[in-house]
């Protein structure tokens, strides 16, 4: 069942590939249909998720829908997939975001078939990564996501796409190789030898073995930090985002960045809990620096897309801060640690929805007036009321206004981190202030005041664009108002993880 969810988009892509000369409309509709079907399947997985049963022994709570087929028996690698409270929300977010991109791209007429096939491929890769329970399988999907995104940026980007795509590929590939070295380190130290995450989490092979544990955590940490990205590994992100097409940016920020943070909760924390706790202060510092640096640099941007890209660095910083704080929590604070981890996972979902929406909105601007420069616009609220309304919701969600998903996530992170790391949390709170300032300023520049040189070229959102963007924001509001449906899934896994790394 899970494999069907994972490989359905790829199968649809292959069908598109072998069809002789399909019409562009057919391609676009097939893509939307495949993504919608995949989303329906994920909703089915969610609805029937047996939260209390499943195979025991998994460290982060029970696993559901497990499938395991031996792949390379001689190195103990298998095709092992399954979902728990950490992966299911991300799979759901992935399915929603890919459907939104499919709808958004209904009128995309540049090499339509290749475009659709690449996105379907990326959807399989992303979904597969979020349910992979084998390090090698995880790595395969991790690497393929880079390859897929490289072609999206290089093939459909604007500005200097070749250069940005090359930088993106080299940088993130460096990260993935560091990750691979870490995985090999884990494999070599395990007994019996295995790449299976569940078995490794049971063995915790490097527990108390310094410096090996620290080195492996360093390799894995660097690999994931490049992907997340955190300061100082974030420099690939702004050019990649600026030059990527709108749907590509949405997937890159919404889904691909989460692969880094998800790797922390799925691999680094359960398999190296001791090393995580020992070095948690470093992680907290990286998180806080990312929060502040991302926010400050975003404040200085005049390019709308670049600004959103830097706020991603800021938002990912909160997650890293929360996860690091969980590692520093004492045994008595394991409730706080659990809260911080829950907040981190919620932030991954929330950021995916909100930033996905923001990048699609940026794409709308670019489609109409060919520029992201905020100074060229102004007074858009009068000309494009629907656009302004949706953008305002996304802005307020991103800056953490109560009633929207960003608040639920960030509040939990701060509440959970305050006990273990009060100073760092206080510093990170400044980040919220700066983001609020920059989003309000962007709101004023774009939508209020007198019209800019490009304002009269911007018409309101079409039905297609609204249909792609509005559901993302509706979900953000839903999580903001009624978060229980999400938190009920995340909390048991977060509690188990917190018990591992704290104390």
């Amino acid at each position: 069942m899970l494999s069907v969810v994972v490989f359905l988009p790829l199968a649809a892509g292959l069908v598109l590939l072998v069809l002789p000369r399909p019409r562009d409309g057919t391609v676009a509709r097939t893509w939307v249909a495949a993504s919608a079907l995949d989303l329906a399947l994920v909703i089915g997985l969610w609805a029937y998720h047996p939260s209390a049963s499943g195979s025991p022994g998994a460290v982060t709570g029970p696993l559901a829908y497990e499938e395991r087929v031996l792949w390379i028996p001689s190195v103990g690698a298998s095709y092992h997939v399954g979902v728990d409270g950490l992966s299911l929300p991300l799979m759901a977010m992935t399915a929603v975001l890919f459907l939104a991109c499919a709808v958004h791209s209904l009128r995309q007429r540049v090499r339509t078939r290749a475009h659709a096939v690449l996105f379907l491929f990326l959807q399989t890769v992303s979904t597969g990564l979020f349910c992979a329970l084998d390090l090698l399988l995880f790595f395969v999907f991790f690497d393929l996501s880079i390859v897929g995104m490289y072609f999206v940026i290089a093939g459909w980007g604007h500005g200097r796409p070749a250069r940005s795509a090359l930088q993106f590929f080299l940088y993130t590939f460096f990260g993935s190789l560091a990750l691979l070295l870490g995985f090999i380190g884990l494999y070599v130290s395990s007994d019996p030898r295995t790449f299976d995450m569940v078995e490794l989490a049971g063995q915790t092979p490097l527990e108390g073995r310094e410096p090996a544990g620290g080195l492996v955590l360093l390799a894995i940490g660097v690999g994931l930090a490049v992907k997340t990205p955190t300061v100082p590994f974030h420099t690939w992100l702004p050019p990649a985002h600026t030059d990527a097409p709108a749907a590509g940016s949405a997937i890159l920020a919404g889904v691909l960045l989460k692969m880094g943070t998800y790797g922390f909760v799925r691999i680094a924390m359960p398999i190296l809990p001791g090393a995580w706790s020992d070095h948690a202060m470093v992680i907290v510092v990286v998180g806080v620096v990312s929060v502040l640096y991302g926010a400050l640099v975003a404040l200085a941007q005049t390019d709308f897309k670049r600004m959103v890209a830097y706020t991603s660095v800021n938002h990912m910083g909160y997650i890293i801060l929360g996860l690091g704080a969980a590692g520093l929590a004492t045994g008595a604070q394991s409730g706080a640690a659990s809260l911080a981890i829950t907040g981190g996972v919620t932030q991954m979902v929330s950021h995916g929805l909100l930033t996905g929406a923001l990048f699609l909105l940026a794409g709308v601007l670019h489609d109409r007036a060919d520029t992201y420069d905020m100074g060229s616009y102004g007074g858009l609220a009068a000309r494009a009321p629907r656009f302004a309304a949706l953008a305002a919701v996304a802005f307020f969600g991103s800056l953490g206004l109560p009633g929207l998903s960003g608040f639920i996530a960030e509040f939990q992170i701060f509440a959970g981190s305050l006990g273990p790391v009060p100073v760092a949390t206080a510093l990170a709170l400044l980040g919220i202030l700066i983001t609020a300032a920059l989003f309000l300023r962007a709101l004023r520049r774009l939508f209020l005041g007198g019209p800019g040189p490009c304002t009269d070229r911007v018409g309101d959102l079409s039905a297609r664009e609204s249909a792609a963007i509005a559901p993302l924001l509706a979900l953000a509001v839903l999580i903001g108002l009624l978060p229980r449906f999400l938190l009920d899934r995340v909390e048991p896994a977060a509690r188990a993880l917190a018990a591992l790394v704290s104390g």
Binding site: L70, W71, I72, P73, S74, V75, A77, L136, F139, V140, D143, L144, V147, F151, A154, G155, A162, A165, L166, F169, L170, F173, F174, L177, A178, L180, L181, I184, G185, Y187, V188
Partner: protein
């Protein structure tokens, strides 16, 4: 030496007989109708392949007369035969109705025979003979087109090859003096007590010969020139097939003789591996000629493969399956990339602009093969690299593993320089006229098959590794 059962050497015998047969048949065939030679050669290769598969399936092996037939030999036979078959098909586009077509095939078969013999040798004398057999036909093949670049490449290749051959023979003599025998088993017993300086000198000299065949640093200077100057199918063959034999021979020598000798074998091999992968990569960075770039990339690949020879000590499990798998994977990816060049008759990277629009399957094959050479999963080289990285870490060569990973990232840069123009919306026509209208039919088939094999081997890595 006791007698050898000729049946265990059936694939080699078929190759030798096919070479003689092709020469005779070619001599009595009109020049315009030499296509029949190609048919006969293909049939002989398929027969040799069948004989190998039967021998491997029935577990036939032998270890006599200075030649071992074991899993490694079987695997090398299969890979070499498939490689020759691919080269014959590649040449079908280039050399069809060439006046010396049958000579081409004869030389190809003899060189392949030499590569297989190299891999099976467990005696320094057999190794030397195999070296000569694997080298001399190639000198002629490289200069086959009789053009300026081919002649220059052939001359460089020959001079360096002659020097390395003499070094190999000298090394064999020194080791004979040190150990009193040329057989690996006898040497393994005798060398630990032999004078260390003598052994070291002998080993370095033997290594020079084998590294020349493999195209590794420090005797790699011929590789880029041959890759650029030789006819494209020959370049594909020379940078792929002889390496297989040489690397297995290197591994065998390290594993059976030198690991136990009083010699720092692991650091020496690791140093050679590190130098090969790094210098190969550095050389490839700014190349604009596709074949020259592939030539440098093969040097760096040899570096990764040499990690296996460095990691023979201090491990519970043998590294041999990983090495053999990597060789299969490398053969598929490298032949695939060369096949695209053969099909398009392109020279520079810029000649490939807009390929995706004109020939999407060729472009996709090239992307798969180049990313395969990088080692992106799920292509086969990824599994090979994984196995060798793991082996290096277990053998205590963590620094080599990190260096190999860094080199892999660096190599991505020049492969991407080639991949990127494929997807340019329009290929700006280059001065030399760019690509012909229709790519070679056979070469296209080989390219697509190689790319599919590269992916298939990676996905089916479990069963394949189980066989090795």
């Amino acid at each position: 030496m006791e007698g050898v059962d000729p049946l265990t050497l059936l694939p080699e015998l078929i190759l030798a007989l096919a070479a003689v047969g092709a020469l005779l048949l070619g001599s009595w065939t009109p020049r315009r109708r030499q296509g029949r030679v190609r048919l006969c050669v293909t049939a002989a290769l398929l027969a040799a392949l069948a004989a190998t598969v039967v021998a491997a399936a029935t577990g036939t092996g032998s270890d006599s007369g200075g030649h071992t037939v074991d899993t490694a030999t079987h695997a090398v036979r299969v890979v070499v035969l498939v490689g020759v078959l691919a080269t014959v098909l590649l040449a079908a586009d280039t050399f069809a109705s060439h006046p010396r077509e049958s000579e081409f095939h004869v030389l190809l078969l003899l060189a392949a025979l030499g590569a297989v013999a190299l891999a099976g040798a467990n005696d320094l004398l057999v190794l030397s003979v195999a070296y000569l057999l694997a080298s001399i036909p190639l000198y002629a093949l490289v200069g086959f087109a009789k053009d300026a670049t081919g002649t220059e490449a052939a001359l460089k290749f020959y001079l360096l090859g002659a020097l390395s051959g003499i070094l190999l023979l000298t090394g064999a003599t020194l080791l004979l003096g040190a150990g009193g025998t040329t057989g690996y088993a006898g040497l393994a017993d005798a060398l630990p007590e032999a004078p260390r300086a003598l052994v070291a000198a002998g080993v370095v000299a033997v290594l020079a010969g084998l590294l020349f065949k493999a195209g590794g640093v420090p005797v790699h200077f011929w590789v880029p020139d041959v890759a650029e100057g030789a006819p494209a199918p020959v370049a594909a063959f020379v940078t792929t097939v002889p390496k297989i034999g040489a690397l297995v021979a290197l591994y065998r020598l390290g594993d059976q003789v030198l690991a136990g000798a009083a010699l720092d074998w692991a650091p020496l091999a690791a140093l050679l591996a590190a130098a090969s992968m790094t210098l190969g990569n550095l050389g490839a960075f700014l190349q604009t000629d596709a074949r020259r770039l592939l030539g440098y990339s093969t040097i760096s690949q040899v570096g990764y493969l040499l990690m296996a020879a460095a990691a023979v000590e201090g491990r519970a499990e043998p590294v041999q399956p990983g090495l053999l798998f990597y060789l299969c994977a490398y053969t598929a990816a490298n032949l695939g990339a060369f096949a695209v060049v053969c099909a398009l008759r392109t020279r520079t990277l810029r000649d490939h602009a807009g390929l995706f629009r004109d020939h999407p399957w060729l472009a996709l094959s090239l992307v798969v093969c180049l990313l395969g050479l990088v080692g992106t999963p799920p292509t086969a080289v990824f599994v090979g690299k994984l196995a060798l990285f793991t082996a290096a870490l277990e053998a205590g060569l963590g620094w080599l593993m990190v260096l190999a990973a860094v080199n892999t990232v660096a190599s991505l840069f020049y492969y991407l320089r080639w991949i990127l123009p494929l997807f340019r919306a329009s290929g700006e026509p280059s001065e030399e006229g760019g690509r012909p209208e229709s790519p070679g039919r056979w070469s296209t088939g080989v390219a697509v098959t190689a790319a599919a094999a590269s992916l298939g081997l990676g996905v089916a890595a479990g069963p394949v590794l189980g066989l090795l």
